[in-house]
Symmetry: C2
Subunit: 278 residues, 2 copies
């Protein structure tokens, strides 16, 4: 926490020494309460019940808002990626995990405890592999980078996926989704099948979102979203599985802001919050 505060001060000093800090928006891993800025739990940071907003506000003496990082990325893509083009936009990020954010009427939809939009944790295969969240057959356990790496490791350890296995000299821990994607792109049929299966599940997850939210656009970002053919594959599954009256006017689009989506979402939220204060 001290490091965050001093980094903010250093950045101000360095880049805008003649301006005053107006507000701070923090994108944090959920689940959290965006009203109070309390982080309920952030396992990767080993945080529990951290009153982030309160602490930063006291240290910096400016308004501070805290929101879920995927929510902010959604707001970023909505506001700056596809500037206000779509009234209802879902943002889906596919990388190590699968996260999401929901924008309706230009606002983040957070649900009651600030935890809506856990797109990665829809069950789509009830007896499927265990997920990091403890459930079985979550979208994240089937279509994320972690899932792709897990399947590839299993294949290698069973003697399949030879070329890939040799490239890491049998060190299973060195296998990640990027490597599987590389081999698939180079034409390895087994690697391609693993990618294909993951994309098929991703398509099912997206089709579910179409039937539930009836959005105008679904924007897909994250490290794996650039895999060749991913968007087309997802579009095909949506066409096959979702209601045609709901997919007819739907756009499935690539994220435009890359890893700046969250940052731009912080900016958008700051503008919304400061405006509503005046």
């Amino acid at each position: 926490m001290d490091r965050m505060v001093s980094m903010i001060r250093d950045l101000m000093q360095e880049h805008t020494p003649d301006q005053k800090l107006g507000a701070v928006v923090v994108g944090a891993p959920g689940p959290l309460d965006s009203e109070t800025g309390l982080i309920y739990e952030a396992p990767n940071l080993k945080w529990k019940q951290v009153p982030l907003r309160e602490v930063l506000q006291e240290a910096l003496q400016v308004p501070v808002w805290v929101d879920n990082d995927a929510n902010l990325a959604a707001l970023g893509e909505y506001t700056y990626g596809y500037p206000l083009e779509f009234e209802v936009l879902l943002y889906l990020t596919v990388s190590t995990g699968i996260g999401g954010g929901i924008i309706t009427n230009g606002e983040i939809y957070r649900g009651i405890d600030g935890g809506a939009g856990e797109f990665g944790h829809m069950t789509i295969l009830p007896r499927g592999p265990v997920c990091g969240c403890g459930n079985y057959g979550c979208l994240e356990a089937l279509a994320s980078g972690t899932a792709i790496a897990r399947v590839a490791r299993e294949e290698v350890s069973q003697g399949h996926l030879r070329a890939l296995g040799e490239s890491v000299k049998g060190r299973l821990a060195d296998i990640d989704a990027r490597l599987v994607a590389e081999f698939a792109a180079k034409g390895d049929p087994e690697a391609a099948r693993i990618m294909e299966e993951a994309m098929g599940y991703l398509g099912i997850g997206v089709a579910n979102l179409v039937n539930l939210f009836n959005p105008r656009a679904i924007v897909i970002g994250g490290g794996l979203s650039g895999y060749p053919g991913l968007l087309d594959r997802v579009r095909q599954v949506v066409k096959d599985r979702a209601y045609s009256s709901l997919s007819r006017n739907l756009k499935i689009l690539p994220a435009r802001l890359g890893n700046k989506a969250g940052l731009m979402g912080c900016r958008a939220l700051a503008e919304i919050k400061l405006k509503s204060q005046n």
Copy 2:
């Protein structure tokens, strides 16, 4: 259409001859456009592109609004079933099919084409049985009355579920979910297993809704919702599968308005619409 108009006139005449008709709200099967009152398609009625609102408005010369029947049932339960108790309420109806409605901030959330809330058409078993919508493994194809009857017929035709099969003298068409539920309640272990499996899938669908919408309440109605133990089974699956931070403050509750939910929703919508006109 003529019959609807003359029935409305007759009802007015009969019950409130001294009052003027103020407005009409119609709950119709979706998908439809609630802005224009155009029914895109209602397969059971053999309707296509029917401008219901326009026609009724012209005939009756009062404001007419048309909305999805499950949306209106959701609004009915929100407004009169649990009077304004829950800011975010999902309504799920389990009978022949599985439908749903979404209330956020006291309003129906309809999505872009008015088709949001197709809870029955989440895929939760990608290679599961074909659904009426053409997709495979939808919640409706696994947990609705139609699904329960289908499984029971399959079992009977394979020589299982003997007592039930004998009770209909082998006429498969006479098997419906109500009969399966009756046999299950009487202690038939095979019938109980069919009900149990359907409820398990229902729980998975509800757990998905929790992780996606983070609602305060999920209200379950429809012909099958009264099956003994259904709510507890759903609660258990949600506890097992959904994020605990999102299910902690969640209530899973029985619908209170029975088959009047839609009607009460019409009344609630009329009040909202007339208020916003003044």
